[in-house]
């Protein structure tokens, strides 16, 4: 029997988000694109309002909606990250979209729909909730990718994302049905209980593998990464920033919950898959990025590599590993978003966005502040001390070493060296090369410079000072999971 009242209270973030979203939708329907800015700001306020209940929830794990939905430390942590990422994506998008003449009111609404999906994902406690959240996010993201509908690349990105994403969803659903067929339940608790005892059968393992494949597509782990470079490049840059940050974090959080929460007893089975995904992602991501000439494609390969690194932390299936993954996702979100902020403010003299790497040449002379920020993000993404991006790498390597997964740790550090090459290449373009004369136009960027400064400070050595609260939060999550 579902206790609606307490379920509503437990699911307050989603309830607030969904209700506010409908109001904003109505405003958009009546006011049209004139209200785009207002809706965007309304969306930010809505996200803040949805985040408020997260702070006064019971610290203990609470189930709601008959066990379909869970509120625990993990869901709260990830929701905060996702809401922050979505709010940032809303805050900086409008000026950029206006330059491309696509500042329509649907943008903030679609971002909010996707965010609602992500919130459901990270609170999923049942394979069906999982699927529901995942599809809400994915469908919104497909549309977002094709948001510049007059642009062939954007449309291609949307279509490609949709076609491959639909395939991945199919695979995932097939896995879900297999698991249900062999376990007889879709709830995570029931699955965990079943596989702990006699429930481990070939069918469950096959189902698990298919579910993992579907989720690997969402985090663009190799070999399910094909869509990433094309979608990143084709989608409007604010959308890419959203896909690269909030969407990745939500999908990875979901992956964490599924493998550790539901299938924790099958660690020996899924570990092989995760190790393979991790090795392949690091290798292909690091090598694939070297030849790129487009900054957004570079960021796509960067994302693939980083997902490989984060998977190192997942592979041990330990509390320490989970904690490392959370730190990784947090820092990755900020660094990546910061890098996209820099790309967003790269505008040529003709007012059009510039996104070729060659356009970055000599930026240190024409726009020193922007160049310094981008250099910080790149070096931090490379995981080089003393920048904060080093810390999550150290954490995942330590988790792997602790679990005796030496091949992963060694491959990880080698991939770090290879990846350092292409991040350094960006720094080289910014600082060593003569100015290319583009990307130097000053434009109205709204609140972007403030966010950029905040993200750069976080990615800089100052970030180390936040390790205390971050690791305390991570420990709380790890306690909730194990």
């Amino acid at each position: 029997m579902i206790d609606v009242e307490s379920s509503l209270a437990t699911g307050a973030p989603e309830v607030v988000l969904a209700a506010g979203l409908l109001v904003l939708l109505l405003v958009g329907a009546f006011q049209g694109d004139r209200a785009a800015d207002g809706i965007s700001w309304g969306g930010v306020l809505l996200l803040v309002a949805a985040a408020v209940p997260l702070f006064d929830q019971e610290p203990a794990r609470t189930l709601a909606w008959g066990g379909l939905y869970v509120a625990d430390a993990l869901s709260r942590y990830l929701k905060l990250l996702v809401f922050a990422g979505a709010a940032a994506a809303l805050l900086v998008a409008m000026p950029a979209l206006r330059r491309q003449a696509i500042a329509r009111f649907e943008y903030p609404l679609l971002v909010l729909f996707a965010t609602l999906g992500m919130a459901l994902m990270v609170s999923a406690h049942d394979l069906l909730t999982l699927y529901l959240g995942l599809e809400l996010m994915s469908l919104s993201c497909y549309v977002l990718a094709a948001f510049d509908r007059c642009d062939a690349r954007s449309s291609e990105a949307g279509l490609k994302y949709f076609a491959l994403g639909a395939l991945a969803s199919g695979v995932l659903l097939y896995g879900v049905s297999l698991v249900y067929g062999f376990v007889g339940a879709t709830g995570f608790d029931a699955i965990a209980q079943a596989v702990r005892g006699e429930g481990r059968s070939l069918g469950v393992v096959a189902g698990l593998a298919l579910v993992l494949a579907g989720l690997a597509f969402k985090i663009s782990a190799v070999p399910f990464h094909m869509w990433t470079p094309d979608v990143y490049q084709g989608a409007p840059t604010p959308v890419t920033a959203f896909l690269a940050t909030a969407a990745k974090v939500a999908a990875f959080g979901l992956l964490l919950r599924v493998v550790v929460g539901a299938f924790g007893a099958l660690a020996a089975d899924w570990r092989q898959i995760v190790v393979f995904l991790s090795l392949a992602s690091m290798a292909l991501g690091a090598v694939g990025a070297i030849g790129q000439t487009n900054a957004k494609r570079l960021m796509a390969y960067s994302a693939i590599t980083h997902m490989g690194f984060a998977l190192i932390g997942l592979a041990p299936g330990t509390a320490q590993g989970a904690q490392a993954v959370l730190l990784y996702l947090t820092v990755y979100l900020v660094m990546t978003f910061g890098a996209f902020l820099c790309l967003l403010s790269l505008v040529g003299p003709d007012g059009a966005a510039r996104e070729e790497l060659a356009d970055l040449a000599g930026l240190a002379r024409t726009r020193p502040g922007l160049a310094a920020a981008l250099a910080i993000f790149m070096l931090s993404l490379a995981g080089l001390p003393p920048l904060f991006g080093f810390m999550p790498k150290l954490a995942v390597f330590a988790a792997a070493v602790e679990a005796g997964l030496w091949p992963l740790a060694v491959a990880g550090v080698l991939a770090t060296v290879v990846a350092a090459f292409y991040y350094l290449r960006v720094v080289k373009l910014l600082y060593f090369d003569p100015p290319a004369g583009v990307g130097s136009a000053q434009v109205d960027e709204g609140v972007a410079p403030i966010l950029m400064l905040a993200a750069a400070s976080f990615s800089s050595p100052l970030g180390f000072l936040l390790l205390g609260p971050l690791s305390a939060a991570g420990q709380a999550v790890a306690r909730a999971l194990f």
Binding site: A364, R365, L379, L384, P385, P386, F390, M391, L394, F397, A398, V401, E402, A409, V410, V413, L414, T416, V417, A420, F421, L424, V427, K428, Y431, F432, F464, L465, L467, G468, P469, L470, S471, A472
Partner: protein, 498 residues
């Protein structure tokens, strides 16, 4: 005090970066480095040389307990911090006029570098050490890449990726150590006994990093490229201080933490050092570029350091420390000497010069002094270090001693030949004849460096006294672990060597 020495250059860098005005930036940078030097002298004045314990210890926990801001120095750290703080003002002066582009950024990079260097020598937390150790790569990458020569981009990548590859292997070893010992505290780790089977791997992990940093043959190839392309001041700091991080690493980590493994790998280190001395000396003989020649000579000198360290006796260790200090001063001075003529003629090709003693007698005098110091003439700092190191190496292995002693002869050959080609003979080129002698700014660099080289040559106490206690405690640990029978030659005889 140590925190202040790390933070002060960073503040200076921020001020310099925000000034945007070249002249004021230079003065602020110079004053900052002088202030740091003042603090370093203060450390020295208050230092107790009778104990091997870490002094000026500071401890704070701003990193959530994952690792700590734990600083402190023993005699080894003190000497290397003094060396770094002493060289930095000269590095700033070296680029005073020759660097004209993006001056504030250039100076800020040097100041940031200074902070990281001091951090490396002062860190008493493993992770903190690694952060500082790696962090130095970024400003150096920028210094080579932005203000370097023609092949600067190739050289900067090579420098960065080479060093990074070595260091990440050390990082894995560090992670394992922290897991095994349950602490990131360096003093605690120095007293921890790791099992021998693990020690081998850990030693190799650290070796990968320090061997590249030193650099040891055959992983030295980044150094000539980096030196040739780096601006003068960059070379001075690279040769003067950055290479010492490798030797410091062996002394601080490899020997005390993995004594058994160190003893097992003595043969490897000796073999590499012997090859390095002979091979790189011969390579240096064949160079036509002044900077490249001095770069190869650095590799040869660093081989005395590795040889001395792994002789595992008091003389060897003290000698290695002294070679590091002496080479820091001498190689920085030699690179500055190259810089002086490069600023005038814009070429480093040896054949383009000749006869400088005629029209630049004062320059030639200083150049001669540093050349002689480089070949370890008695009376210069070079002699004390190489003599002690060779004595230590000889008592450990007479074969290694003999082979490495030839390095001294070869060193004399290439350095004197370099000097002869540059300073002696008749002046052939008119533009060489037109070169003016030293300017006041160049005097300001040459004089203190020359004075310190001579002073340490006749009075090695300032280096040997602080180093004595930590070296003795390291030897005591090696004896306690049964790695060496006793400290072999008595410390008293070593003092007489100066």
């Amino acid at each position: 005090m140590l925190s202040a020495m790390i933070l002060l250059p960073l503040v200076g860098a921020a001020v310099v970066g925000l000034l945007g005005d070249a002249v004021r930036a230079r003065w602020v940078a110079l004053l900052t480095t002088l202030a740091v030097l003042g603090l370093a002298l203060g450390l020295w004045a208050g230092f107790d040389t009778s104990t091997a314990a870490f002094q000026y210890v500071e401890r704070a926990e701003p990193f959530g307990g994952l690792f700590s801001w734990h600083l402190g120095i023993d005699g080894i750290g003190l000497v290397l911090i003094l060396l770094s703080a002493f060289l930095m003002p000269f590095a700033i002066l070296a680029g005073w006029e020759s660097v004209r582009e993006r001056v504030p950024e250039y100076l800020a990079a040097f100041l940031v570098m200074e902070a990281f260097i001091i951090g490396v020598f002062a860190a008493l937390d493993l992770i903190l050490f690694y952060v500082f150790f790696e962090a130095g790569l970024i400003p150096m990458y920028l210094i080579i890449g932005v203000w370097g020569g023609k092949r600067r981009i190739y050289a900067s990548y090579k420098f960065f990726l080479y060093t990074l590859l070595g260091s990440v292997l050390m990082l894995l070893a560090m992670i394992w150590m922290v897991r095994e010992a349950g602490t990131t505290d360096i003093p605690a780790l120095m007293a921890h006994d790791f099992p021998l089977s693990a020690q081998r791997w850990l030693w190799l992990g650290f070796f990968a990093s320090f061997a590249v940093k030193m650099p040891m043959w055959p992983v030295h190839t980044w150094l000539p490229d980096a030196h040739v392309e780096a601006p003068t001041a960059g070379s001075m700091i690279l040769a003067g201080v950055l290479l010492k991080m490798g030797g410091y690493g062996f002394l601080r980590f490899s020997l005390p933490m993995f004594p058994e493994a160190s003893a097992e790998f003595v043969g490897l280190v000796f073999a590499l050092s012997m090859v390095a001395v002979v091979y790189t000396s011969l390579v240096a003989l064949a160079q036509e570029d002044m900077k490249k020649l001095i770069a190869y000579s650095s590799v040869a000198h660093m081989a005395f350091v590795t040889g001395g360290l792994f002789a595992l006796n008091t003389q060897g260790l003290e000698g290695a420390m002294f070679v590091m200090v002496s080479h820091g001063l001498v190689s920085a001075a030699l690179f500055f000497c190259v810089g002086v003529v490069y600023d005038r003629l814009h070429t480093r090709e040896i054949a383009r010069y000749g006869g400088l003693a005629t029209n630049m007698p004062r320059y030639a005098l200083f150049f001669l002094l540093f050349t002689l110091a480089s070949i370890a003439l008695p009376g210069t700092s070079g002699f004390v270090g190489e003599f002690l190191a060779l004595m230590g190496i000889f008592s450990a292995s007479s074969l290694a001693g003999v082979v490495m002693a030839t390095g001294v002869i070869l060193g004399a050959a290439y350095m004197l030949w370099l000097y002869a080609r540059v300073a002696y003979g008749r002046i052939v080129h008119d533009d060489v004849r037109a070169m003016p002698d030293l300017k006041p700014r160049e005097w300001a660099v040459m004089l203190p460096l020359a004075a310190s080289v001579l002073w340490l040559g006749v009075n090695p106490g300032p280096v040997l006294a602080p180093v004595r206690a930590p070296v003795e405690s390291l030897m005591a640990r090696l004896v306690e672990r049964g790695v060496v029978a006793d400290a072999s030659l008595s410390p008293a005889r070593a003092t007489g060597a100066g």
